[in-house]
Symmetry: C2
Subunit: 344 residues, 2 copies
């Protein structure tokens, strides 16, 4: 089959690799129907040291089950399924608590002999624990929205849930990428009273407004903090959803969070240490979030997507075939595309 491999910064190739086969009784093989490129794929695309052997990449996909191992009972050949961005058994003590990202028997896509998601097919370990069955559809928009359950919508939701967004709460979302916009939508869905979106790309912030942002702040750093504080009587918002991952974004988050509030991080932190000293302590600010257990959230989010109440798939603004994946990476890196959908 053809699949995407990354060889280093700026070097993504689509190549022919071995066809996936059921290797364990708990595996399934899924023919990919839709995949996509993630903001977090841009970190290695931006800075990975060159290596001789490519590594499979991509961790968001939905597709049709082609083959299942003898122990797989929850899905069967022909089912349309979505996979969260990590695989998990869904039975260990962490999975039972809803933290499938810490599954004792789980792992990531594109590592340890498991395929990446940006290819024609994927061997899915722990298929019963990992895959969630979807209704068959030809509706392009619905397919796109269902695909976001794999990562971005679930990740935005995780930010909102861990920060404690609910009816009556004020929210600042930092970042107008696909996760930031998904976080706006998730905050709206949870009943946030007011959603301030911090971002500078008007096409994106316009979508953010459609998703539920009540205000947009284009300024950054101290100026951005000042602006959000002005909007909130000087105090900041109860919750901050930090959807970027850089230290300046985190620092800005601390500047706009209200005393007693929570800052949730869902952008992978690109900094080993952060300013969590006296100021954070004296203001009782909680720092929460982390890698989102998408598998846990899919059953809750799916009905709203199926019934069209929320359309997180609107974050996709470009659709490409598999051979165009390298160009898709470049378009996202250049910020020409917000999020790229792949039809293999």
């Amino acid at each position: 089959m053809r699949a995407t491999l990354i060889y280093g910064a700026g070097d993504v190739r689509v190549e022919t690799v071995a066809d996936p086969k059921v290797a364990q009784a708990t595996d399934a093989v899924v023919r990919v129907v839709r995949s996509c490129i993630c903001g977090s794929d841009l970190w290695p695309y931006g800075g990975m040291p060159a290596q001789e052997n490519g590594r499979p990449i991509g961790h968001e996909f939905l597709g049709v089950v082609e083959e299942t191992g003898a122990d797989v009972t929850s899905v069967r050949k022909g089912d349309l399924v979505v996979a969260p961005f990590v695989w998990s058994d869904n039975t260990c003590e962490f999975c039972r608590e809803g933290l499938q990202t810490s599954c004792l028997h789980g792992g990531g896509w594109g590592a340890d002999g498991v395929d990446g998601g940006q290819g024609e097919a994927v061997r899915v370990p722990q298929a019963d624990g990992t895959l969630v069955k979807l209704p068959h559809t030809e509706d392009e928009d619905l397919l796109a929205s269902m695909l976001t359950l794999s990562d971005v919508f679930a990740t935005g939701h995780h930010a909102a849930v861990t920060a404690g967004v609910k009816q009556g709460k004020t929210v600042t979302v930092i970042g107008d990428g696909a996760v930031g916009l998904s976080a706006v939508l998730a905050a709206k869905r949870l009943g946030a009273e007011r959603i301030v979106l911090m971002g500078r790309h008007q096409v994106r912030t316009d979508l953010g407004r459609e998703f539920g942002a009540t205000e947009v702040v284009a300024e950054r750093g101290d100026e951005g903090i000042e602006r959000v504080r002005e909007l909130t009587g000087g105090h900041g918002t109860h919750t901050v959803l930090e959807c970027v991952g850089t230290k300046p974004a985190f620092e800005m988050g601390l500047g706009v969070v209200r005393a007693g509030g929570a800052l949730s991080r869902v952008g992978v932190p690109q900094y080993p240490e952060g300013p969590i000293g006296r100021q954070v302590f004296m203001r009782n600010v909680t720092i929460t979030g982390g890698v989102a257990p998408a598998r846990h959230y899919i059953p809750e989010l799916l009905p709203d997507v199926l019934e069209g109440r929320y359309q997180p798939g609107r974050v996709f603004d470009r659709t490409i075939g598999l051979s165009d994946v390298p160009a898709g990476y470049q378009a996202m890196a250049d910020r020409e595309a917000l999020k790229v959908l792949i039809k293999p």
Copy 2:
């Protein structure tokens, strides 16, 4: 009156200062019956630059109301009252949310013309919002336990509450000082299933066991982490109550907290930056806590203290008069005393 002033590291003096008087209609003057020395007083005692004028110190006290301003309605002359370690109006938006430490019209003891707690009397601003009435008693143990509502027991409780301690949860308490032991007691009170106390002073950890610790780990650093992980199937505890405030204590806390768990800090952090990068993120660890809104917790904790179900006053292991306060500081700094009670 006589009161304690700090002039710099190692330099605490008891001197004659102006008698407190009602200055605002919302003030009360309280004659101090019991006060004490706090672990956090040891930070300036250890490192404050020498200065010409002393500054009043002490922030924990209970006493008898001597005089009230015209607007004070909730307490009156002759009442026994306890003061939390900050004063607050108890009516602003933060106070109404239970975050009196961020009161818009509040402040600290020993600053801006307000007396410290380690003296014969104190002018209490915002008396209605700050003071909580207690029953009169001659019971020394009860007086000591009621005094801990001013800070240490409330602070230990804040650690436990913000970390999410409840029935069935496992807890690690870092630090066997008065706050650490109070946190053990608070965790026990909230129904923790298992409480691992990390501390090396056997007299203190013995009291910790009486307060509810199920295991004591004397090792520190990597060895300490290893030990707690061994005790918990390799995963660590759901909650960590960090009651020290140093960076190594925080790092140890991150090492023993279970994925998806929470580390609450109630020791004032003595570090501007901390390791909150990828590891914390991938494990979905929440960092919470902060300066405890004791005023918020007193009504909840007081009945258990009055009825003798909990005896947090057992953390006091030395009682002194006001003139011995400098020696009391030294005894706590030398770890000869766990917590020093003052009878002015």
